[in-house]
């Protein structure tokens, strides 16, 4: 009989949390009933996303922000994501190195995850892992994304507040004008602010925010905070920025609105993933897919017709059932 990890998670077992997260990472179906049982206990945690380019200081800032929340007496869950090798599937997960001081703090739970080929800056199971830590009772959950480039923005689909960490020296003003990652921040941290170019970078980011506001007036103007994380500088200002943003979310009703939008997207995505999995497994297991591939390669049939036919056959079959 499978262990009842949901019950153990609610009773406060870190081991059950660890095991359940592994099931989620492995897409093990035994995780589903546990997640169903945990659902009524989710939705309480405040979720922060910390994203930015590799080496920008995300892990160090995560450590400092975690310390600040601990000072306030809040418990913290951390999901730290690093990339998997596209060739071997292996990964070196090094984010914990900067957070060593919390290893034996029972108020902090840290889990490293590898992307396992999932794009968008997160691991596939990130949302589920956040829910487990939420049900486990963590007050704040911090998601540290992989080092991102310009377009990995999935963290905004999970986080209540997203902090983009920038560092000087990575390009001129054109970079701060582009679409993508520059648009998703609720709070900007200009880290390593003692380096040359930090003031200019901060000014460019502020000017982008102001220009965006002229095109389309914003209710929330993202604060730009200069930090030197390794020296603990600017962390108070960063915390104040998170507090102000949360206050805005709650007073404007956006908190619920954003979460509602997220549940909507996620429910659709889950249905999509499950539907895909069922059809894929059926096609692969009876060898039908190989036959179809052969026919397409030989130009006997085309993939568009096959796609329409497969989907309509499945829908018919499930209606008749």
């Amino acid at each position: 009989m499978a262990p009842d990890y949901a019950k153990e998670v609610l009773e406060g077992s870190p081991r059950a949390v660890a095991r359940l997260i592994s099931w989620l990472e492995d897409e093990d179906e035994r995780a589903y009933p546990c997640m169903e049982a945990l659902h009524p206990h989710t939705g309480k945690a405040y979720i922060i996303g910390i994203t930015g380019s590799p080496g920008a200081g995300k892990s160090t800032l995560t450590d400092k922000v975690t310390f600040a929340f601990r000072q306030r007496g809040l418990t913290v869950g951390i999901v730290a994501i690093d990339p998997s090798s596209p060739f071997t599937g292996g990964a070196v997960l090094g984010d914990r190195i900067r957070m060593s001081r919390f290893s034996v703090d029972p108020g902090v739970y840290i889990r490293s995850m590898a992307t396992r080929g999932f794009l968008g800056g997160l691991a596939r199971a990130t949302g589920d892992v956040v829910r487990v830590l939420d049900a486990f009772g963590k007050d704040v959950i911090i998601i540290e994304t992989v080092g991102v480039g310009q377009d990995e923005v999935d963290v905004i689909r999970i986080a209540d507040a997203t902090c983009l960490v920038l560092v000087p020296g990575l390009g001129d003003a054109i970079q701060s004008m582009k679409a993508g990652v520059m648009e998703i921040a609720d709070v900007f941290a200009i880290n390593k602010a003692d380096r040359p170019g930090a003031d200019q970078l901060a000014a460019e980011v502020v000017s982008r925010i102001e220009l965006d506001n002229q095109f389309k007036p914003k209710e929330w103007m993202p604060p730009v905070v200069k930090t030197i994380a390794v020296e603990d500088q600017g962390v108070d200002a960063l915390m104040a920025a998170f507090d102000a943003h949360r206050e805005y979310l709650e007073s404007s009703g956006k908190f619920i609105e954003r979460r509602k939008e997220r549940v909507r997207e996620e429910t659709l995505r889950m249905i999509h993933d499950e539907l895909f999995r069922v059809i894929r497994d059926a096609l692969v297991s009876n060898g039908r897919l190989d036959g179809l591939v052969h026919e397409i390669m030989e130009h006997k049939r085309n993939p568009y017709a096959i796609m329409r036919e497969t989907v309509s056959r499945w829908l018919r079959a499930s209606c008749e059932r």
Binding site: P14, D26, G90, A91, L93, R96, S100, V104, A114, R116
Partner: protein, 135 residues
Amino acid sequence: MASNRKIKMVLAKPGLDGHDRGAKLLARIFAEAGMEVVYTGLRQTPEMIVETALQEDADVIGLSSLSGVHNYFFPRIVEVMKEKGLTDVLVVGGGIIPTEDVPFLKQSGIAEIFGPGTPTNDIVDFIRGNARQRD
């Protein structure tokens, strides 16, 4: 069953030992072998290492020691693991460890000790062959 299962390893440097070139190289080698390797960084206490392995749901703990503290730290880590209920996690060690210490360490619950010059394939094969099968 899920096909996405990977061997998860926590690689740790216990005690006051400032040298981790070897540990970093091994982290790369295990990742090349398809494992997910959490590197803890330097100067870890037994409690920190075991708590990390617990939260990360590690299948294997790899300990690296170059400073002569293995006879205290390695058995102590196994002890803390028992206290925390991590009885199904494989522990292996390596570094500068005199051969006469090996029997004592194995008796204390370290599955294998890999000294300098061990072909890295041997370490990978040992871990693959002995890491727990997840339930």
